[in-house]
């Protein structure tokens, strides 16, 4: 691989920076609402990384599920917390004990990941041509991985039914 940067490399580093900075902000911000909104950048960045890895389907699904669904859900959940009245210091992670614990964990995992990245024998292959992944993914899901796929869907169904039962109001208690 040539050492010189190409345009694609610049985009990659930009996306990686976006992901990391937004993720760091989400962890460190004292304002929990801003923290949640900064996750938007992280999710988009991860989608961009998927797209750069030629995983177009996964990238698009990442945006659809994480931005369109999970992020909105998180925002709703955050807006329902009681801390929201003082949004400026609503993130308890800013407390010293919690913060130091978090920093410790972060450092530990950083060391672990870095040592893995440095020690692992990376196999270098030439970048393949871009190939659509939707059809192979679909075939894999419905042929090789059919059992786990179906099991997952059963689990999800159970979760949905459980949520409905918890959320359902008892008609006898209150209208």
């Amino acid at each position: 691989m040539s050492a010189s940067w190409s345009f694609a490399d610049a985009i990659f580093y930009f996306i990686a920076l976006l992901t990391v900075v937004c993720g760091a902000y989400a962890v460190a911000s004292r304002n929990i609402v801003r923290a949640v909104f900064s996750l938007l950048g992280t999710f988009l960045g991860v989608a961009g990384l998927y797209a750069m890895l030629s995983a177009d389907f996964v990238a698009v699904v990442q945006i659809m599920v994480y931005v369109g669904g999970i992020l909105v859900l998180l925002i709703f959940a955050v807006m329902l917390t009681s801390r929201i009245e003082k949004a400026g210091r609503s993130n308890p992670a800013a407390r010293p004990l919690a913060a130091s614990l978090g920093v410790l964990c972060g450092l530990a995992s950083l060391v672990l990941l870095a040592s893995l990245a440095l020690l692992a024998p990376w196999k270098q292959t030439a970048a393949g041509d871009f190939a659509p992944t939707t059809a192979p993914l679909g075939e894999a899901l419905l042929a090789e991985a059919l059992l786990p796929f179906e099991l997952l869907s059963v689990v999800l169904l159970g979760v949905v039914i459980g949520a409905v039962i918890i959320a359902r109001r008892d008609p006898e208690v209150g209208g």
């Binding site: 010189s4 190409s6 345009f7 304002n31 609402v33 801003r34 909104f37 938007l40 177009d56 389907f57 698009v60 699904v61 945006i63 659809m64 931005v67 369109g68 669904g69 992020l71 909105v72 925002i75 709703f76 807006m79 949004a87 659509p132 939707t134």
Partner: protein, 430 residues
């Protein structure tokens, strides 16, 4: 686009020159797509105001440019000139950021919308999914605006909008999946190529489930675009102006254009998924591919179809009253979602049982087409019936005489004479 890309990568320029040219190419395409999308969104506002005028028996904007066609330029310039107010209690960074996800979400989607066979910025392999995914950025922007304004109406509007968009994404996607199942592709261009130019080759008339899926899609997309009868997020009788209550100047312009861009987007998706896109009746894809003439005609056809759908959207807005929040949610979860699942399953079963090209397949296709014609005929018959029963106020002759009738005083006199006489009489007798 592809040709230019190959020209650049295949040339014997230096590495850096190639990179630079590619960057410029991508940037240029982005700018072009953005400008086109901007103009389309702006024209949408013009259509909205003119059609609302006609619906309310007014004229609508007609002072700027011929027939008021440049009204959007005046509005746009005005918005740029206006002061950009940020409330003192607002969350400033979020308040400033909020319009961007909305604008990006809507206008990035235009990259994958075909305007003609050659006129598409990026024919993605996962095009339809991309369209659905990237527009979900809008929700985040709207929530951000609602929160950051620090205004209860904004927050209500933002949360209503988010709940609505997230809910209605499900039936929208499921209804589109019906066609994806039939086409076997997520690429917008492939889906159009699978259809034909003639109406009975369109996916909407292929089989009854697709016909139903079209109506499900249209209803759900109306709700996703916050359009009446589902415009609860900006219901001015309840929420001042919803999530953009505190926005002024060009930041408001971002929301405004995003909303109207979204309307065109949903109509373009309906056109390409259900109405055959740029396919020209009687012209084979091979003929179409190489000819400039057919490209232009195809562009025109797509334009006409998409704007006809937009016209219906605007028409609905000025005809129907607004729903309540609980009605909105129950419509989605109790009717649209189960019905779209039925459509999806039914399509799958039909595809298993009925081989393409068989007699039964043709029967289904032409039967659905005939049913569609029947529905349209009954609908227009009802419209005419209503127009006739309004009385003398609208004379169908004047519609029939077309454009000339609107400017020729003699024809106007003949058509409206009776009405004028009726109006004068009570005044004289008083």
């Amino acid at each position: 686009m592809d040709a230019l890309y190959e020209l650049i990568t295949g040339s014997d320029l230096g590495f850096w020159w190639k990179q630079l040219l590619l960057a410029v190419l991508i940037g240029a395409v982005g700018v072009i797509v953005f400008s086109v999308a901007l103009v389309y969104a702006a024209l949408m506002t013009y259509l909205e105001r003119r059609v609302s005028g006609r619906v309310q028996s007014r004229v609508g904007p007609n002072r700027v440019g011929p027939l008021g066609l440049l009204q959007w330029l005046a509005d746009g310039a005005k918005m740029i000139l206006k002061e950009d107010v940020i409330p003192a209690a607002a969350d400033r960074p979020l308040f400033r950021l909020a319009p961007y996800p909305v604008v990006i979400g809507v206008f990035a989607a235009f990259a994958s919308v075909p305007f003609g066979e050659w006129l598409i910025a990026a024919d993605l392999n996962v095009g339809l999914l991309y369209l659905l995914a990237i527009t979900s950025l809008v929700v985040v922007g709207i929530l951000m605006a609602g929160w950051a304004s620090n205004n209860k109406w904004s927050l209500f509007g933002g949360i209503r909008s988010a709940a609505q968009i997230v809910s209605y994404e499900v039936p929208t996607a499921l209804a589109i999946l019906v066609v994806v199942l039939m086409a076997g592709s997520l690429s917008t261009q492939d889906i159009i190529r699978e259809q034909g130019g003639w109406p009975w080759d369109w996916y909407v008339f292929r089989q009854p489930f697709a016909f139903a899926a079209f109506f499900l899609y249209f209803t759900a997309a109306l709700a996703e675009g916050n359009r009446t009868p589902f415009d609860l997020p900006e219901a001015e009788s309840e929420l001042v102006a919803g999530y953009n209550t505190e926005y002024s100047g060009m930041r408001f312009g971002g929301f405004y254009l995003g909303e109207f861009g979204n309307v065109y987007l949903m109509c373009a998706i309906a056109t390409l998924v259900f109405f055959g896109g740029w396919q020209i009746p009687g012209v084979s894809p091979a003929e179409h591919h190489g000819s400039w003439l057919w490209q232009i005609v195809g562009f025109g056809l797509f334009f006409v179809k998409a704007w006809a759908a937009s016209f219906v959207v605007v028409w609905l807005r000025w005809t129907l009253p607004r729903l309540r929040v609980d009605q909105l949610m129950s419509l989605c979860y109790r009717y649209l979602v189960p019905l779209s699942f039925v459509c999806l399953l039914g399509t799958a079963v039909l595809m298993m049982l009925v081989p393409a090209g068989s007699l039964f397949d043709s029967l289904l296709r032409f039967g659905t087409f005939g049913f569609g014609l029947l529905v349209a005929a009954i609908f227009f018959w009802r419209v005419l019936w209503h127009i006739r029963h309004v009385g003398d106020r609208i004379d169908l002759k004047i519609l029939a005489r077309g454009v000339r009738g609107r400017f020729d005083p003699a024809i106007q006199h003949r058509a409206y004479g009776a009405f004028r006489k009726q109006q004068k009489q009570p005044e004289e007798s008083r």
